[in-house]
Symmetry: C3
Subunit: 408 residues, 3 copies
């Protein structure tokens, strides 16, 4: 046969195709195992990875902006706390700080300590380290641990509880009476509303949406209230605080008393293979700080409003209990794309080899006809090492007979 030219040989590469040789075994036992495994794998790949997990789609994560606006006023009476008269609380009073990123705080209970000024006074008897006696004197210039000031060194009977003596301290005086009101001062906050404006974008697909869906004018919008079960109002972005809290399974009264953390989860799960109009938000609410524990319950913090009275710097100290709402926006948009589909099919085919491997184990080790099948499946080639050796010998012989030097 004439040797093929290099060109023909190179071209022929494009007209070749290799496929494995297969033993086609007709066996009831192994066939059933094989088909069952294949079915399970194909079901998993098609049913779970491709259809359920949308393996045919390319995904993008949401990019979001949230702004919130509270509305509502509450009338309180703080005579329990020694403050005369009623007081109106509006949004500038009970939202602290006035704006936060993806969060807002609503004060629901309060301990007000007005008229504090820099002075010396007696520590509160409720602070353990502030209690003193002849055996446990007050060390001057050391702070009271978990207390309100720095000790002057004096130890005097407490006016609030005359049976014990407390340290005198440098502090904002008088110190706070840390008795949580027996009922939430701002219980009326349950009727406050919050307008949550959420703009989102799926940058990869150029889709922008916001959570005002189906409202035509500002007055229609201003008067709606969110209702998960109503066809239109489940897209209303105005929420009543008590309804948010109650849909987490919590009691507003108890939450308002001690404070807590509530998550407002806005989910945008959009299948952009359908109309973009179907890309709508879903709201979920849950309490993040569990109430199942006895220790360290609730949420509160202190802040002060400084002022000047008769040339003296004073401040109103406010211990604010309340609900911190955290707005979390999650979302994923999917759109058909050939690449992920192809990858999922490819990895599905790779998984199919598991069926063959399991069946091979059954056939070659557990069936009585194992020797018979082994002969059919395997072609045993033993000559390799001998061939190598023989070939070396032959080459040496050739070089010798032709008188050439064997190349290194």
């Amino acid at each position: 046969m004439a040797p093929p030219s290099i060109v023909r040989s190179a071209l022929s590469v494009f007209f070749e195709y290799d496929t494995p040789r297969i033993v086609h075994i007709r066996s009831k036992k192994v066939g059933v195992i094989n088909r069952f495994l294949q079915l399970a794998i194909i079901s998993y790949v098609i049913g779970f990875a491709i259809i359920y997990k949308k393996g045919y789609q390319d995904f993008d994560d949401v990019n979001s902006a949230v702004t919130t606006k509270l509305k509502g006023v509450a009338l309180t009476n703080l005579t329990d706390q020694g403050i005369n008269g009623t007081r109106v609380w509006d949004v500038a009073d009970y939202v602290i700080p006035p704006q936060e990123n993806n969060a807002f705080f609503v004060m629901t209970n309060v301990i007000v300590t007005p008229g504090q000024q820099q002075d010396t006074c007696l520590e509160s008897p409720s602070v353990p380290d502030g209690i003193c006696s002849a055996e446990k004197p007050c060390v001057p210039d050391t702070p009271v641990i978990n207390g309100n000031g720095v000790k002057t060194g004096a130890c005097k009977p407490s006016p609030r509880n005359s049976s014990i003596e407390v340290c005198e301290i440098y502090a904002w005086c008088p110190v706070e009476k840390d008795d949580k009101p027996s009922k939430p001062v701002l219980l009326a906050s349950q009727n406050f509303t919050v307008f949550i404006k959420n703009n989102i974008e799926f940058g990869k697909f150029g889709v922008k949406r916001r959570n005002l869906i189906g409202f035509d004018n500002d007055s229609e919008l201003a008067n709606c209230r969110f209702d998960a079960n109503d066809k239109l109002n489940r897209f209303c972005p105005i929420f009543i605080l008590s309804e948010i809290v109650e849909s987490t399974g919590q009691d507003y009264y108890n939450l308002a008393l001690s404070g807590g953390v509530i998550q407002i989860l806005i989910q945008w799960n959009c299948n952009l293979d359908y109309s973009v109009e179907d890309c709508v938000p879903e709201y979920q609410f849950r309490r993040l700080d569990s109430n199942d524990y006895k220790l360290a319950k609730g949420f509160n913090f202190r802040y002060a409003e400084p002022y000047l009275e008769d040339g003296v710097k004073k401040r109103t100290l406010i211990k604010a209990y309340g609900i911190r709402f955290i707005v979390t926006v999650e979302g994923k948009a999917g759109k058909f794309n050939f690449v992920p589909l192809f990858l999922n099919i490819g990895s599905g085919l790779a998984l199919l080899s598991i069926a063959t491997i399991v069946c091979d184990i059954v056939v070659l080790y557990f069936l009585k006809a194992r020797k018979f099948f082994k002969e059919k499946k395997y072609l045993d080639v033993k000559g390799a090492d001998a061939y190598e050796m023989f070939d070396s010998m032959k080459q040496s012989a050739e070089y010798e007979s032709t008188g050439q030097t064997k190349p290194k």
Copy 2:
């Protein structure tokens, strides 16, 4: 043949190698399909997964800290709002709250209501629920919906609009005149600058960088201004607010009037196979709250500055319109690593089996020579079930002939 010892048999396992037997088909039709599919898959794996997606690199996400500092003063004249004289606004006036995590707010427009105190006064006629008449009386002790206070029950002619009657309310009085100024009060904020300090770290690779690149001293740094098109100043971390806004395609005047949310995206995409000096930030700006809608545009909130005047607690209520800037730091660093490269090649090879499967389908079902190829590819083994049965019979016979009991 002598049976091999166990040791020899165990050792021989290490000198074996199994490889599938292949049918090498020389066919123009199938060969072309086969090579084309293989080429497509290899192009995808090498070109997309390995080169484009840097499948040969191990990745780490960025860990970042952002601090911001604003500079600038603005002179305003609030005589429109009944407040005398000019006023200077500095950073402590227009940044609220004074520091936030990964965000800052700049006030650009304002409605100031000075001298509010706890009192009874008339609701603003612009609140629908505050309007009353003989048919629609004011229910005492109920809050005005979306209003400023709690109704006392009285209904009086509004001094602001004498043709209608409004409810008297307990509130911070006088109530705010909610007329947005016709032009942004703090338009001068467009010349304010913000210094964004961003330290990042790729922990896995021990790389720390920050966004001050190429500046030798504080004065050089203080005088630079960001310019995306300038070789040096594209690394200047001091931004003019109007330039941020304009590079999002928005008009500063309109944004300042109603407020909005702007994202400052800092991207650190670093290929650590090159010099770490090439690991530099890239800045992008975009408006997050879309302006394409008519309803509920802009961003504003209210806060109060309390003070004491002649023994009476008063406050200045401020409705602040402005721009909330959100600083988002994204980043990924990659460095060559054998494991991901190996995994990508492995999954690429798995994908190659798709070419064989497609060609097998063509060869076995569509070619006219399908029977011919089937014979070559498949070795049909039918005897399995019969062999099993025969083997059982033979064993039973053996047990019977030797008189032994068949084991269970």
Copy 3:
């Protein structure tokens, strides 16, 4: 042979099983390469992907809520800054803003400028753009760049530094003396404590935990202090600020002087195959804003406390240096699940084909016996194109001989 019915043929599909035919090559060279590669791949899959990376588990990310509460008081003496007497700073003074999401700020150093009011005064001589002369006059109504006010146009000798002239400005007067105190005013903040309450949830597995582990009552909790090396106190959620800072390798004094950003990382890595009691937090601390640079070090911001004195609006301007603590919660919970195990085994098997491919290359291109093995592995089938042609001819002939028209 009778043709099988369609039903029997369909059923027979379930009793079939295809397995590749294999050449079993006994060669020391290739066998060793083969087994070594297989061992490496299997070690990687089992050791790294399945055992080390817990490839047999399904994972869920943590959902978290963090609240923080600071305790501690400090006594300061600001006579350096021209302010008489000692002053107590408590939590309402040094935490600004009073609450933040996943972060808190503690003031450690301060420049107080009391008694500012809207007026005209001279710019600070430390602002370059505020310095004027006959050649560089003050342009009226332009703001001083990086300065405190808007120029009136006048240029007068600076009282603070009489050798230079500065512009007169409309500003909050007097302007701040921006001289950082030589030592941190609130160095006592090192003894402050922060109680970090962290509730987490792994929603997929229904597991809720919080970082108060092993404490039975509020007093035990209130008195513990975090200690990473103590069996019980490594779960104490009360941290001393100086210990947080020192465990990042930083010096509290220097950090307090200029300010900085510290990350408190809480990691919940839980293996839910074991007891849920073993799901405990781990704390890490690190400084986020690197201290290795000379430019723009530290963290500070300005805020104001407005008040009314004798009918004049005044404010106290506070430049606050301090430490911003950012609390980051990371976590992953894993639980045994068949699907990821199965997927990892599947992709491991796919990788095994790499060993066969490498050995095939050795056998078919590098061994001397390559022709011998090629013959065993490959069955060369050339007739395909001829068969196709022949078949077409035969069909044409048949149609002709029967007088039928060849179908299109």
